[in-house]
Amino acid sequence: MYFSGGAELLFDKKKKHDVNLPAKETPWTIKDLLPWMKDNMLKERPELFIQGETVRPGILVLINDADWELMGELDYSIQNKDKIVFISTLHGG
């Protein structure tokens, strides 16, 4: 998992995180992943990352370098070794 555009500030100020998800009976989807990230990875101000059950509008998500809007968004089933990138556009420059 990669965080940039300011999103890394909420995740220990680290841009790259290697994540091992615990085994689960049903496949992991992004919808399952987000609350898991909130509980296990988010260091501060979860409202700046999560809104309802999805990411806050203005945070771009890429799965294996493709826009998640093309991959089914929350319903995408995560595969082993997937690269998931979160880029905030909400931070100024």
Partner: protein, 416 residues
């Protein structure tokens, strides 16, 4: 099953918010670059032989702008000279880091860079201002000062215009903010792709129709080096709320951003609505709708230990200013303060709009553009009731000021 590119059938990498098209990387680059080229040519933003300063903050928008402008200038032979211009507000832990990014961009894109600081312009860094004013209205100071700083830096460089990285999302936000504030004057101006043609340096926004999402995606795929952090003072900013609102709306209907801009462009203001008359500040010569511009009022407040001057209701602020000015006339004790203000201002005003009144002394590089400004300023001045009878008088004062400024200019060596 991966979605295919609508154009070339390769595997798609993003969905364009504006059109809903799925595109692969290469087709996205092409569409993104060509759209900006079309914006530039349709609106005649650039003219051969011009020097254009790119307002560079080190953030995503200006980094991509610098990259794209250079790329398109080479590809389509615009024939413009590009320079990077950065403003250093003096915010430790924020701007010093982002300026490092701009310095890297300078090398990466092989463009000259000029950094102009609040400290050298105004005698105050934002850190020092925040110490005085606190965290509530500091963004007002910063915004007012930054606008002038970019213009003054650009005049120092002798450029013909400024290009800024304001994108479609930013402009939509501004429309919403101006509606919420009832600021009709700004509401009418804020969607213009080029502003400032009637006074200060022209400014243009090549990204006016470019979505923030696409700028960020472009920077990500192209691996462009940009800096992103929240300004350490900005969490209270009003814009943040407008920004969140726009993003929420975009999520539901992506075309909303372009639609809000379109609404702003199509608004017509009733004739009865009184619009502020744009003149020039009698103290620094910068374009202003009041006798003394907001930056000068704010600076006066800071220097006199009344930092709240310039914040809040305009009539209140003007009354205070007038009181102060009359005090200045009668009380010699305050003259030293004024002198320090004037000297602070004089170092900043080399590029004053009125410089051509003293044309033999004005900077060659500025002469041509200043000339045009002074003509429009003069005619505006005569149309303006407040100045109707004072043109001659005012020019006199200005010439006196300019003489001082030009001496400074002569000493100043501008090196990139």
């Amino acid at each position: 099953m991966p979605i295919r590119c609508n154009v070339c059938n390769k595997s798609a990498t993003l969905k364009r918010p504006k059109t809903g098209d799925a595109l692969c990387k290469d087709c996205f680059y092409y569409a993104f670059e060509e759209e900006i080229h079309k914006t530039i040519t349709d609106a005649n933003l650039l003219t051969k032989g011009e020097t254009v300063a790119i307002g560079a903050s080190g953030g995503k928008d200006s980094t991509v702008l610098a990259y794209i402008m250079k790329l398109l200038n080479d590809r389509y032979n615009y024939g413009v000279k590009l320079v990077l211009l950065s403003v250093d507000e003096g915010i430790t832990g924020y701007r010093d880091d982002s300026l490092e990014t701009v310095k890297r961009n300078q090398v990466q894109y092989d463009l000259p860079l000029k950094i102009i600081s609040y400290e050298e312009l105004y005698g105050w860094t934002m850190d020092a201002i925040v110490k005085q004013i606190g965290l509530k209205n500091n963004c007002t100071f910063c915004g007012v000062f930054r606008r002038q700083a970019l213009d003054r830096g650009a005049l120092l460089l002798g450029v013909d215009k400024i290009a800024t990285g304001h994108n479609a999302d930013d402009i939509a936000e501004t429309v919403i903010m101006n509606v919420l504030r009832g600021d009709i004057g700004r509401l009418r101006r804020c969607t213009a792709i080029t502003t400032g043609t009637d006074g200060a340096l022209p400014r243009c926004k090549p990204f006016k129709y470019t979505y923030e999402k696409e700028i960020v995606m472009y920077a990500y795929f192209k691996n462009l080096d940009y800096f992103s952090t929240e300004c350490i003072y900005s969490p209270n900013a009003y814009r943040g709320f407008a920004r969140a609102y726009i993003k929420d709306v975009e999520k539901i209907r992506p075309s909303a951003i372009i639609d809000i801009i379109h609404s702003g462009e199509s608004l017509s203001v009733k004739k009865e609505v009184r619009m502020p008359v744009q003149g020039v500040c009698e103290r620094c010569g910068y374009i202003s709708s009041n006798k003394v511009c907001k930056a000068c009022v704010m600076l006066e407040g800071l220097n006199k230990g009344l930092p709240r001057l310039g914040i809040g209701k305009t009539h209140k602020e003007r009354r205070k200013m007038e009181e102060m000015l009359s005090e200045r006339g009668s009380n010699s004790g305050s003259l030293s303060d004024m002198a320090s203000l004037d000297s602070a201002l004089s170092t900043t005003d080399q590029g004053c709009d009125m410089s051509s009144f003293d044309s033999d002394q004005s900077l060659n590089s500025n002469a041509e553009s200043s000339c045009r400004h002074s003509i429009s300023d003069q005619s505006k001045c005569c149309n303006n009731e407040r100045h109707a009878s004072c043109c001659g008088d005012r020019n006199c004062v200005t010439i006196e000021k300019i003489t001082i400024f030009d001496k400074k200019v002569d000493q100043k060596v501008i090196d990139f």
